[in-house]
């Protein structure tokens, strides 16, 4: 197997973990924004406690993805950063405001008005960021961004404003919110009423995902034909079976209140969606001009990168395991 494929695999895994961890943290922010009813305050507290120790570590997966991109596919990175300058800048501002508002809220005055103000910043930035992330990812599949060598020919608005990209953005948002609600049912185990709040939210979010996925699929036909072709490949029905199987299990488990099973199913669902997405786009990084192979860095760079990844994960993986064992181990 060639090195760029290995690194592409690592990048995909990082992307999936980022969605499962970092994505869920954004989802938590969405539920903070949407906290309603007599238990709103408790809901917010549980969201805050759940993400406080881990959100920074979860966030680093995004930095890892960026570093992998510019080290292994520098030309693709340059083109993406040029063509998607605007949504990425919006995403960055979202990331800055989300993280700082979350920490500031914790250490600022406990007066309701002050807390409310920070919650609003935290919630809105948690809502906007996943949308632009989805739009950015969607834009890469549209074929609207054309690249010659490393020059972007299509300006700064290509792709990411298309209905397909918007659908991807909304899909990412609801997916993250669903994931967060499922996790939060476990974090709220000590308070059955709040747990039920998150259970209902998870169910609603999961139900909303199906029509949005359909919109993504049908808009891809006209706007991201390669993606559409990929999604109608021989393996696509199997993937669809697995994904919807996971979704149904998650729904059933939520209904039956077996929350641990729901979590496993939700993780399976998100993993297959992202893996399928990348398979459908393979081997393109930016459809149709930039591929994993034609934008790859020199072999020596790739070789050293693989070694660095190996050495790094020897330190990283046990540390991560320990982090989650300490804070989420009892569940």
């Amino acid at each position: 197997m060639s090195l760029e494929i290995v690194i592409a695999g690592v990048t995909l895994v990082s992307l999936i973990i980022y969605a499962l961890m970092g994505g869920a943290d954004f989802g938590g922010g969405v539920w903070d924004l949407l906290a309603r009813g007599p238990r709103a305050k408790r809901q917010r507290q549980i969201v805050a406690d759940a993400i406080a120790p881990i959100w920074e570590a979860n966030h680093v997966w995004l930095i890892l993805i960026v570093v992998l991109l510019f080290t292994a596919w520098p030309r693709a990175f340059a083109a993406m950063m040029t063509a998607l300058h605007i949504p990425l800048t919006i995403m960055l501002i979202g990331i800055v405001l989300r993280g700082t508002a979350f920490v500031f809220r914790k250490y600022d005055s406990k007066r309701d008005s002050v807390q409310h103000r920070w919650s609003l910043v935290f919630g809105i930035s948690s809502l906007v960021t996943p949308v632009v992330q989805g739009m950015t990812l969607g834009a890469l599949a549209t074929g609207d961004i054309r690249v010659e060598k490393s020059l972007v020919l299509t300006g700064f608005f290509a792709g990411w404003l298309s209905p397909f990209a918007w659908a991807c953005g909304v899909f990412a948002l609801v997916l993250f919110a669903f994931l967060a609600a499922v996790y939060l049912t476990l974090d709220a185990a000590a308070e059955p009423e709040v747990q039920n709040d998150f259970r209902l939210r998870a169910i609603w979010a999961e139900l909303a995902l199906a029509p949005i996925a359909a919109v993504v699929f049908f808009t891809s036909r006209g706007e991201a034909p390669e993606m559409y072709r990929g999604l109608t490949n021989w393996w696509a029905p199997w993937l669809l079976v697995v994904t919807s199987g996971c979704a149904l299990v998650a729904l059933g488990a939520l209904w039956k209140r077996s929350f641990k099973l729901a979590r496993v199913a939700a993780i399976g669902q998100v993993t297959t969606i992202l893996a399928g997405w990348c398979l459908a786009q393979y081997p393109h990084l930016i459809y149709p001009d930039v591929t994993i192979t034609n934008a790859a860095a020199p072999q020596i760079t790739l070789k050293l990168l693989v070694i660095a990844l190996g050495v790094g994960s020897v330190i990283l993986l046990p540390s991560l395991y320990y982090l989650f064992k300490v804070f989420k181990g009892s569940r």
Partner: protein, 437 residues
């Protein structure tokens, strides 16, 4: 202003902002681990209180550092796509290692900040040690990448193409050693003096406070041990800049004319037109002696390169003077504190000494920013020294005034809130209370 200038302003502002939190992220964990280590050994609760309270401040600052660092990793590509396209494969290596170091730092900081009751005391303390080590390491790797921009090696450059890439050689570039040392100690000096100054202020108001005495002791110790080492690494840096980037050194010294018996110029107003520095204080022969240990050493001046390749001489020269001046004041204070400790041991903390620490509190960070200005403005107009101009690397994106303004507003807003919140942490939580731990 042109789009290039806005891009440079945005990058410069983002870096100047982030570097404050990066420095704190390197040095605070060392002090927290020291405090908790003292607690484990002496079982005095005051040290545990200290570790807790420092941890709170660090939590706030680290979060801002993490998100502003993310902004930077994207801005490399958003603002300088041409640079990253070529530099990515060459210096991706230290960036990936930095990624892992930062990962480790974030993981163990989470454990340190939130794991007080969930881990054994030793495991908790070891987490703090891990944060300190990985914090230093992530700084080391990222500065290595910056050093490569100053002394680019590890490739062949022909007709605008980079070939024969050797990422290991690039990582071990000539500027790496001195930049890494100078930046790491800068972080300790800046944070040490700032924290010592803050606690000195409270100690002056409440002389009996065990808490502030312990805090001041640790911070002042870190500051006073690292400042002489920092001066030594600065000397090393100056020699190596003279060797590998003589034109940067010339700008630092406002040294226009190639000559022997070159003086060391302090202050003054460099004038690019007349190639002289008015009103500066000159120490005869000092620059020649500094560089070559002999008064007749010929020191190349800016006249060696075309005018359009000069960095901003005024800015680089003044920044250099500010850095050195602040460093010397801190060195003097450290020597005074050291002598007081030598003579009087337990009674070494006098009100006059405390007052001086209060006044010198911001000097470390002033020196750090000024030093950063020297290395970054001194590199201009190159983004890869001697190979690629900054103007060739900039994004084709128009209207860069918009992101520049946006980020400026966001960062100013964050700075104001931060000052307010840190003050609040300090004034409102009594040291006896453990708050939300």
């Amino acid at each position: 202003m042109t789009d290039l200038q806005f891009a440079r302003a945005q990058m410069g502002m983002s870096l100047a902002f982030h570097i404050l939190f990066a420095a704190v992220g390197i040095a605070m964990p060392i002090m927290m681990a020291m405090a908790e280590g003292f607690y484990l050994r002496t079982k005095k609760p005051v040290y545990l209180d200290l570790a807790h309270r420092w941890a709170k401040g660090t939590a706030i600052l680290f979060a801002v550092g993490a998100v502003s660092g993310t902004v930077l990793s994207f801005e490399l590509g958003l603002l300088w796509p041409k640079f990253m396209e070529h530099a990515g494969p060459i210096i991706g290596m230290p960036f990936s290692l930095e990624g892992f170091a930062f990962f480790t730092e974030a993981i163990f900081l989470g454990l340190f900040l939130y794991g007080w009751k969930k881990m054994s005391p030793i495991a908790h303390w070891l987490s703090g040690v891990m944060v300190a080590i990985s914090g230093v390491m992530s700084g080391v790797f990222v500065v290595t990448a910056n050093a490569w921009m100053n002394t680019p090696v590890g490739f062949t450059y022909e007709n605008g193409e980079f070939s024969d890439i050797d990422p290991i050689a690039a990582m071990l570039n000539p500027a790496a050693l001195h930049e890494v040392l100078h930046m790491t100690f800068a972080a300790m000096v800046a944070t040490g003096f700032l924290v010592a100054g803050i606690h000195a202020y409270f100690l002056l108001r409440n002389k009996q406070s065990e808490f502030h005495r312990a805090a001041f002791g640790i911070a002042a110790a870190l500051a006073c041990v690292s400042i002489p080492l920092q001066v030594l690494t600065g000397d090393l840096a100056a020699r190596r800049v003279a060797k590998y980037q003589p034109m940067k050194l010339a700008a630092m010294e406002a040294h226009y004319e190639t000559r022997s018996h070159a003086p060391f110029v302090i202050g003054g107003i460099p004038d690019d037109e007349t190639k002289t520095t008015k009103y500066g204080v000159e120490i005869p022969n000092a620059l020649s002696i500094l560089i070559g240990h002999k008064a007749d050493t010929v020191v190349p001046g800016l006249d060696q390169i075309p005018r359009e390749e000069w960095p901003n001489v005024k800015l680089v020269h003044w920044s250099f003077d500010v850095m050195v001046g602040a460093g010397m004041v801190m060195l003097g204070l450290a020597m005074w504190a050291g002598m007081a400790y030598w003579k009087r041991r337990s009674e070494w903390i006098s009100p006059r000494l405390l007052k001086s620490f209060v006044w010198c509190a911001p000097l470390g960070f002033i020196a750090l920013e000024a030093g950063w200005f020297v290395t970054e403005f001194g590199r201009q107009p190159w983004i890869i020294y001697g190979i690629m101009k900054t103007s060739e690397a900039v994004t084709p994106m128009p209207n860069l005034v918009v992101p520049f303004t946006t980020f400026t507003i966001v960062y100013i807003f964050l700075s104001i809130v931060l000052v307010f919140l840190l003050k609040r942490q300090f004034l409102e939580t009594a040291p006896e209370k453990r708050g939300d731990v």
